[in-house]
């Protein structure tokens, strides 16, 4: 009996010894980045360039959404957060933001869809389920497959503000998560309507001609119109850090907002802030 007890006690100790390293802190020359999936590909490119230069940093980029990026920094789970929205005032009190690029959100349809433009009121009616066929907005006789984005995504927040309908009034056919899933859905369904960041949209349009961004209020959904501020739905893409930066995160952030990465920012169809 006694023997059994002592051996199970031994197992318990062994278990903790085994689990302990998993929760121990990572080394300091590593910079962990998490957050917006819109900003992640750019951050990864910037990180690659910095790692290939003289820097000794090892940079790890993970996605999960803007709010997660900010929360991770507040909780100390990551060194740098990525957010594709401006910070809320209560977040501003806790962390510091550094604008890397600007982006707009565009409504995107399948290229086979002949629709020219949708007004803000029409879009609101489509997303609240009052309009369900493209012919009601001057298109072909085809059911609209309304694709909404998951709650908490920055695109969702921006579009919610733009359309001005209550979150319980949304009547989507599909709720999609990642950008790539939206692109695949629109490519495979000629009646689909989704909203995507203009950066992602232009990047995808270069690869595939099956999707098309609609103009808003007569303004084409292009990086150019985001830069000159005429496009109606614009957002900043920011890196988020603690108020007091560690030397390694400082090195990364300073590099990311410098002109050394302007070509990378524009390569992703985002707009450099300066």
């Amino acid at each position: 009996m006694n023997k059994v007890k002592s051996s199970s006690f031994l197992y318990l100790i062994l278990n903790f010894l085994f689990l302990f390293p998993l929760v121990a802190q990572a080394e300091s020359t590593k910079v962990s980045i998490s957050g917006s999936s819109t900003l992640a590909p750019l951050a990864a490119e910037i990180a690659k360039r910095l790692e290939n230069s003289a820097s000794s940093l090892r940079i790890d980029v993970q996605t999960g959404g803007s709010s997660k990026g900010i929360t991770d920094v507040i909780k100390g789970l990551s060194d740098v957060g990525m957010s594709s929205r401006a910070l809320f005032p209560e977040e501003e009190a806790l962390v510091k933001s550094h604008t890397v690029a600007l982006d707009g959100v565009a409504f995107v349809v399948n290229s086979k869809n002949p629709i020219k433009e949708l007004s803000r009121a029409q879009l609101a009616d489509i997303y609240s389920g009052k309009i369900s066929n493209w012919k009601e907005v001057g298109g072909q006789d085809l059911e609209i497959t309304v694709i909404d984005r998951a709650k908490g995504r920055s695109e969702k927040e921006l579009v919610k503000d733009y359309l001005g309908i209550k979150s319980t009034d949304y009547k989507p056919d599909i709720v999609a998560g990642e950008n790539q899933q939206c692109v695949k859905l629109v490519e495979g369904n000629s009646g689909a309507l989704v909203y995507l960041s203009i950066g992602t949209t232009e990047f995808e349009q270069k690869r595939s001609s099956k999707i098309r961004a609609l103009p808003l209020s007569g303004t084409a959904a292009t990086a150019e119109n985001v830069k000159n501020g005429t496009f109606p739905i614009i957002r900043p893409l920011v890196l988020v850090t603690k108020k007091k930066l560690s030397p390694s995160s400082k090195e990364f952030v300073q590099f990311a907002v410098s002109s050394q990465v302007k070509d990378l920012v524009e390569g992703m169809a985002f707009v450099a802030p300066q």
């Binding site: 278990n15 908490g152 989507p172 709720v175 998560g177 859905l185 369904n189």
Partner: protein
Amino acid sequence: MSASLKDSFAKTLLGFASSLSVLVIFFIFYFLLKESSLALSQIGGSRFFSDSTWAPELNLAEGQFGLLEMIVATVAVATLALFIAAPIGWFTAVYIHFFCKGAFRIFLHRVTEIVAGLPSVVLGLWGLVVLVPVLLNLRAPGLSVLAGAIVLAIMIIPTIVVSTVSAYQNLNSELTLTSKGLGIGKARFILEIATPLASRGISTGFVLALARAMGETMVVVMVCGNVVQMPESMLDPVRTLTGNIALEMGYAYGSHQSALFLSGFLLLLSVLTVFIAGRLFLKTQEEQFR
């Protein structure tokens, strides 16, 4: 090293490994309960079943925290997947075990293992790009209970095949000879002797497959449509508990996040219920058989 020392070393190592997995399960239970306690105390357990829909980002009073639609969706998608996969998996296993010989049998076994090892994201992508456009011809949006069930069925067929084949393999080999000697036909032998005797192993496979289908996340997020609603037809898009956690966990905080942990806890409970119900069902079956 003496033999007894070796033995005690091996025993310690094995005991360590198995106690680790047991401990991890307890930790997960404790962790989920702890994280969902905020939601339980602030929102109250009953609202998760009485609220009409899921709109947790509003404030506590206005917010809707109904999980019932997602529980129904989880069960519907997984059960339909099992209904599709069970006959196919069973037929395949019978074919492999009773009708195949030599190289072809090994080939089929290997193919099954490869399908079992396919990453769910690959299957999900296949569903999104190939299966959904086909279902779109039936009714928009194509992402639906059925789409999820078909992809999940493909995922769980290997589980059923492997466990059914091994259930047949565990039967006493004299059975076959005796039956042949008695002049019992192959079909009758399979249906009336081998299958009832192997039923324990076969249904264990079904239960494992169902549990896997209920817990699968990537596939359902990609092909089920993720709209929170009570499914009225197989072609309706739905959101499962796992899909809900995957879609919103990254962005949730406060009571919303806690509510997601609670849905994870409910999912774990549902899977446990399936296991226990499966066990009880087996027990009554076996008693009848005796």
